[in-house]
């Protein structure tokens, strides 16, 4: 079995008379994004600060690569710490330094790179995060969203092995929120770092995480995959997860998956009792990564948002539309068989225009490719199986090129 990269064993921490962590046990595996969820003020940030060594546990042990932190020499700890990067909840930008100096600081202080190389790397990172034009501004002169991106650029600039994100999307609008999630996911795939994210963004955060840990009353009450937590029976977990979700997602105005689940169950009753069939369509923005890479992270989100809005205008009130992945939208069509679903897709492919979906200036060679897969439900269908079926029978039905 793989040894976890970071192991927290029976961590206790008390501030004054207030116990915050009561025996936390958590494993974080290499190359994965692990998200810690839990109530506000429940000790998630404290837990993160223990991992990076900003706080020392009252008792318990933290193991890095299987070695207890407490037995490491100071130099070993220092070397280990250099593999980490931390994105603070409040950004913690240096307010007397401008944006460029903030981003470049870790390189200036910790490497012997020449100034030209530092400028180049910082410039690239800033361009990737769409903050290239604000290098000479000070943190107090930029918006909350920009500050987040500056903090993210600073966290990524040294290409660390492990990045800890403390509520990276707090205070961002829904579009930017998902753009940040997309960035974390993309960079994780690109650079292969290990990510630990503290977040409240349920269920959006599930799409980018490989593991979820839930902290409740100072201890981890769940550790497992995003699918597993959504199927967990424990009332504390269910109340928290479903309490955090709204019927309408802030992401793109579409209903969340749980709402689709409810609608699926209702439709299934209608199918079983009255033999009224229904279908599911999964839309996938196939070149999502390419768009985010060539344009910016907002572009992919914008296309998805506009597509969802467009679809919502085309469907009946009994139908439901939901995001079901970073670049996927699920559409549940009531009283519709597969042929009608196919016809709906064809109609959509003819009527939809690129200008309806795109708010940005297209880069040279820009196009976006939408794939739609459809499946008709049967009396025995389960939502997950139906979604898999829809995706497996996918065929590209719509490709739009903008010159």
């Amino acid at each position: 079995m793989t040894t976890p990269l970071i192991q927290l064993q029976d961590i206790h921490k008390t501030f004054g008379s207030n116990p915050v962590l009561n025996g936390v046990n958590l494993n974080i595996y290499r190359g994965e994004i692990t998200t810690i969820i839990g109530k506000s003020g429940g000790g998630k940030s404290v837990l993160l600060k223990h991992i990076i060594g900003l706080l020392e546990p009252d008792s318990g042990e933290i193991l890095l690569d299987g070695r207890p932190l407490s037995t490491m020499k100071k130099s070993e700890r220092k070397a280990m710490k250099q593999k980490f990067s931390y994105m603070f909840q409040g950004n913690a930008l240096f307010d007397s330094l401008n944006v460029y100096e903030n981003v470049a600081l870790p390189l200036k202080e910790k490497t012997s790179l020449p100034e030209r190389e530092i400028r180049k790397r910082a410039g690239e990172k800033m361009a990737q995060l769409d903050i290239a034009g604000i290098g000479d501004r000070y943190p107090s002169e930029i918006s909350g969203g920009m500050k987040k991106r500056v903090a993210l650029a600073r966290a990524l600039i040294t290409s660390p092995e492990i990045i800890l994100f403390d509520e990276p999307t707090t205070g961002l609008d829904p579009i930017r929120k998902n753009a940040v999630h997309g960035m974390i996911s993309d960079y994780q795939k690109k650079f292969g770092f290990t990510g630990v994210v503290v977040s409240h963004e349920i269920p959006d955060i599930f799409y980018i995480s490989q593991r979820i840990a839930m902290l409740n009353n100072g201890s981890i009450i769940f550790e497992g995959s995003p699918d597993a937590i959504q199927q967990a029976e424990a009332p504390d977990i269910r109340n928290f997860i479903y309490g955090m979700e709204n019927r309408r997602s802030g992401f793109n105005g579409a209903a969340h998956q749980t709402y689709v689940e409810q609608r699926f169950n209702q439709e299934k009753f209608r199918l079983c009792d009255h033999n009224i069939t229904f279908s599911l369509i999964i839309f996938t923005l196939e070149n999502f990564s390419e768009i985010t890479e060539h344009a910016d992270h907002m572009a992919g989100q914008t296309v998805l948002t506009n597509l969802t809005e467009y679809i919502r205008r085309q469907i009946n009130i009994t139908d439901s539309c939901s995001r079901c992945g970073l670049n996927k939208i699920a559409l549940l069509l009531s009283n519709t068989d597969i042929e009608h679903a196919r016809a709906f897709c064809q109609r959509l492919s003819k009527e939809i225009k690129g200008s309806d979906l795109l708010d940005i200036k297209p880069y040279p060679g820009f196009y976006f490719s939408l794939r739609a897969g459809f499946a008709q439900a049967t009396r025995d269908s389960r939502l997950e199986a139906l979604m898999e079926q829809a995706e497996s029978t996918s065929n590209p039905f719509y490709t739009f090129n903008i010159c």
Binding site: K81, Y86, F88, G90, A92, F94, D95, E109, K110
Partner: protein
């Protein structure tokens, strides 16, 4: 049993009260030690030191000139009337120069710099602490003491003697303005007395004081800001305000105490 447990509580409270300042002193000592050691660790933070020399030194020139001039003028005035009673107003140059170079120059320079730069240091570092900027430095494996404190110590050690020298010179000129220009003492006599009475050991003693005051002032002011978050009597901005006040008061008092100790050693 009750008396015993009451006694136990009293003793433990007494122990805590005694240990807390000793612990703080130890922490200050370690903080100061690493602050000084890190001045000499590679790579040298040359530009940061220059930046701080500008802030602590260059930007204090005006205020030091002003206070130096008026201190010298007051000394000239007071000295003249005191010395006239003994018919020895010709000694004014000696009185003004020695009191400035030995005592008033280093002490008043330190006090003025505490007010101008020391309070700013405490507030700046305190705000960095409460807004997690110091934590951010630690997460980047940047030693915050080296990054924030060492350049300030180096800059203060460079700036304080220079500012003291400026204060002394302007003060002596101030004494000349009141003593010679306004009250009529012969200017040749005034400067001859200055020259004959001031010895090299007075000048070097004044500079030694300036260097020691620099170390005391920066250590106290940075320390107060750096540990703002540990204050029990106030958090956040209140904590920063308390740290700044404490930095100014403590370093002023310590400058005066150190002055006495150094004078008794140097004399």
């Amino acid at each position: 049993m009750t008396i015993m447990s009451g006694g136990k509580i009293l003793v433990s409270a007494l122990g805590r009260q005694t240990l807390a300042p000793i612990r703080n002193l130890g922490k200050l000592g370690t903080f100061f030690f690493w602050g000084v050691v890190n001045i000499f660790t590679l790579p040298f933070q040359f530009f940061k030191v220059i930046e701080q020399v500008c802030f602590i030194g260059a930007k204090s020139v005006f205020v030091i000139t002003l206070t130096g001039a008026f201190t010298g003028m007051v000394l000239g005035l007071q000295g003249y009337y005191a010395l006239t009673k003994f018919g020895s107003e010709g000694m004014l140059g000696s009185a003004v120069a020695l009191s400035l170079i030995r005592e008033m120059g280093p002490v008043l320079t330190a006090v003025m710099v505490i007010g101008r730069a020391g309070s700013a240091m405490a507030a700046e570092i305190g705000i960095m602490r409460i807004s997690e900027q110091i934590d951010a430095l630690e997460t980047m494996s940047i030693d915050p003491v080296r990054f924030l404190v060492s350049p300030r110590i180096a800059a203060a050690v460079i700036s304080f003697p220079l500012l003291t020298a400026l204060f002394d010179v302007i003060g002596i000129i101030g004494g000349y303005i009141t003593g010679s220009v306004l009250l009529g003492i012969n200017s040749g006599v005034y400067f001859a007395r200055v020259e004959s009475s001031v010895l090299m050991k007075d000048v070097s003693g004044g500079f030694i004081k300036a260097v020691v005051f620099a170390l005391v002032v920066v250590a106290i002011c940075c320390f107060q800001g750096f540990y703002t978050h540990l204050r029990k009597e106030g958090f956040g901005s209140k904590g920063v305000s308390l740290s700044t006040t404490s930095a100014v008061v403590t370093s002023c008092v310590l400058v005066l105490i150190t002055d006495y100790v150094l004078t008794s050693i140097l004399l």
